[in-house]
């Protein structure tokens, strides 16, 4: 029964003189005020708990077991984690992930910083056009990016090899060497994310008070000095945010290397570009008998993310002091 029954304009028949509906109304009203908020947040917590939070906790539980999906599982404590430490494929995936992470994050953030600084000029014409143009790669799906760049990086008729041939460099078999596959994958990541980071940094720059620059200008500071002594220090919180986001993304890199290797979760013949997330897939989902081990890889990734974020956070903080 809705409350509006007591407040709506009277219908043809006058309301009954009986007071019961009103009492009931106020009871409903009290219930409404006190408990209905829980109804509004319930859908979120229900679905979030069952399908996101619980699986994460269960990953931790699984990682302490010799677990296969058929139903056999024995508690083995931290054995999966100690096994990881002497697992060459895990270390290989770790090195690959870091290699690609560095090759993508560093140029990407430098370029984003540069572009954001250019876009921050208030006199710029066609501002919206430039912002949209550099952001458009982020709208494209990772799968599409990987497919398009996969072709650009073909050995025999790829555009990059053609460009190299015009300056006399022999064609590179991008998928067959560690450094070349890392470069190719990092290029896809850079293309997709530079614009996004530019916009976030730009937002941070626009929050910096303009009079700081005007004062510096009157003191005769060059644009370059203004950038170093005003923009960069003031941008620190935004920069930390961007670095941590890139770390989370970089440590979980999966789709680009997967599609670059035609869907193989191994990442190249010699695992040249198998990332940690691919290794987690290989152990936890492609191979049902090692789900517990895969879960340990998943938690290792999470711990690495926390660790790298922390190191970055401290570095960025210190360097600015």
């Amino acid at each position: 029964m809705s409350l509006s029954a007591t407040t709506a304009p009277p219908s043809p028949a006058p309301p009954p003189p009986d007071t019961a509906p009103r009492r009931r109304g106020s009871l409903l009203n009290r219930f409404d005020l006190k408990y209905s908020p829980y109804l509004y947040i319930a859908p979120f917590f229900l679905i979030f708990g069952v399908f996101q939070l619980y699986p994460m906790a269960r990953t931790a539980w699984m990682s302490l077991h010799d677990w296969d999906m058929i139903g056999e599982h024995t508690f083995i404590g931290l054995d999966n984690y100690t096994a990881l430490l002497s697992d060459d494929y895990f270390w290989n995936a770790l090195v690959n992930t870091f290699g690609i992470f560095l090759l993508s994050t560093i140029p990407q953030l430098l370029l984003a910083l540069f572009l954001a600084n250019l876009l921050n000029r208030t006199m710029l014409r066609a501002k919206t056009f430039f912002r949209m143009a550099i952001f458009v790669p982020n709208v494209v799906s990772v799968a599409a990016v990987a497919i398009v760049f996969g072709m650009l990086f073909q050995r025999d008729f790829g555009l990059f090899n053609w460009l190299l041939s015009t300056v006399g460099v022999d064609p590179i078999d991008w998928r067959n060497q560690t450094w070349s596959s890392w470069t190719a994958i990092a290029t896809m990541v850079n293309w997709r994310w530079t614009g996004y980071n530019t916009l976030i940094l730009l937002a941070g720059m626009q929050a910096i008070p303009k009079d700081l620059y005007e004062a510096a200008e009157i003191d005769g500071a060059s644009q370059w000095r203004q950038f170093w002594q005003i923009t960069l220090p003031m941008l620190r919180p935004t920069f930390i945010f961007v670095v941590i986001l890139s770390t989370i993304g970089g440590m979980q890199l999966f789709t680009e290397p997967l599609l670059f290797g035609n869907g193989s979760v191994i990442g190249g013949n010699q695992r040249e570009f198998q990332t940690l997330a691919m290794y987690m897939f290989e152990k936890g989902i492609y191979n049902l008998s090692t789900a517990g081990y895969g879960a340990a890889v998943a938690w290792a990734i999470f711990m690495i993310i926390v660790l790298v974020s922390l190191i970055n956070f401290l570095l960025v903080r210190r360097s600015a002091k």
Binding site: I47, A143, G204
Partner: protein
């Protein structure tokens, strides 16, 4: 000599050169995709590479439709269904919870809100292995339930709606509703939801794009018989790796609708992203 404030914000031609180059590099791969998707198969081996679109898109896309290794049409329809359902749900659940957190008083509010913010930091990939076996147990393997139900809510959606509701809706407005005897749900429906519309639109656009582009989880849980668009694209690209005009025709059809949506609503999307960045 020019004055200080003029000097401060002047834009040199080099700035434009750099920006135009950045814009070209951003757009070129997409343009290249369109060029190849409209060219006949043998044009791909041309040296130098073709730079203008051709007239073979129909042929190429026809081959996509006939190709039963990837079920492109099924993927397209599935993606439309999944992305739309998830978008509507995220906006509704996000605005309901966001409204409650911003404007209603209840025990445990701060702790619950904090728990949402903390879990936003944990990558959802970390739960993928148990989630995969959960889906087997539920009998949802290779069904649209598996790629829809877990994503009907997002912590980001709740958080974004809460932030917006805090500043866009005054407490007096809600009090006025109460004095008029409206129930909380009526207040949500008639006062809060209309006021949240701008934020809901941005959240909806971002959610739709994210779902449309989602790859990892659908790839893990769906088969080529019943894919989403992105999963279909990936299988198409493995199976017909040398037929690039076919693969690119499919990729273009899967990509360009979003690019067009972006061109139409780009201002709002970029505004939303930049605003979110400053607040967080």
């Amino acid at each position: 000599m020019i004055s200080a404030s003029q000097r401060l914000w002047r834009t040199s031609p080099l700035t434009y050169v750099a920006l135009v180059m950045a814009a070209l590099l951003s757009i070129y791969p997409l343009y290249y995709m369109v060029v190849i998707s409209t060219r006949s198969l043998d044009a791909i081996n041309d040296v130098p590479p073709p730079i203008t679109p051709g007239g073979s898109f129909g042929d190429n896309f026809g081959r996509v439709l006939e190709n039963d290794a990837a079920n492109f049409l099924t993927g397209l329809v599935n993606s439309i269904i999944v992305s739309s359902v998830v978008t509507i749900a995220v906006v509704i659940t996000g605005s309901l919870a966001g409204f409650a957190f911003a404007k209603l008083r209840f025990r445990g509010r701060n702790v619950l809100l904090l728990s949402i913010i903390v879990t936003m930091m944990i990558p959802t990939q970390m739960g993928i292995i148990p989630l995969w076996s959960m889906m087997q147990t539920l009998g949802w393997y290779d069904t649209l339930y598996a790629v829809t139900v877990p994503f009907l809510v997002t912590a980001f959606g709740v958080f974004m709606m809460r932030q917006y509701a805090m500043q866009a809706i005054s407490d007096e407005l809600i009090e006025a509703g109460r004095v008029d005897g409206a129930s909380t749900f009526r207040i949500y429906w008639n006062i809060v939801l209309p006021a949240l519309r701008p934020a809901a639109a941005v959240l909806g656009l971002l959610t739709f794009m994210e779902q449309w582009n989602s790859f990892l989880w659908p790839y893990a849980i769906l088969t080529p018989e019943n894919p989403t668009l992105q999963v279909s694209l990936s299988f198409l690209s493995y199976a017909y790796y040398t037929d690039y005009s076919q693969v690119f025709a499919a990729t273009a059809v899967g990509t360009l609708p979003l690019v067009i949506v972006f061109i139409v609503f780009g201002r709002q999307i970029i505004g939303g992203i930049m605003e979110g960045a400053v607040k967080s």
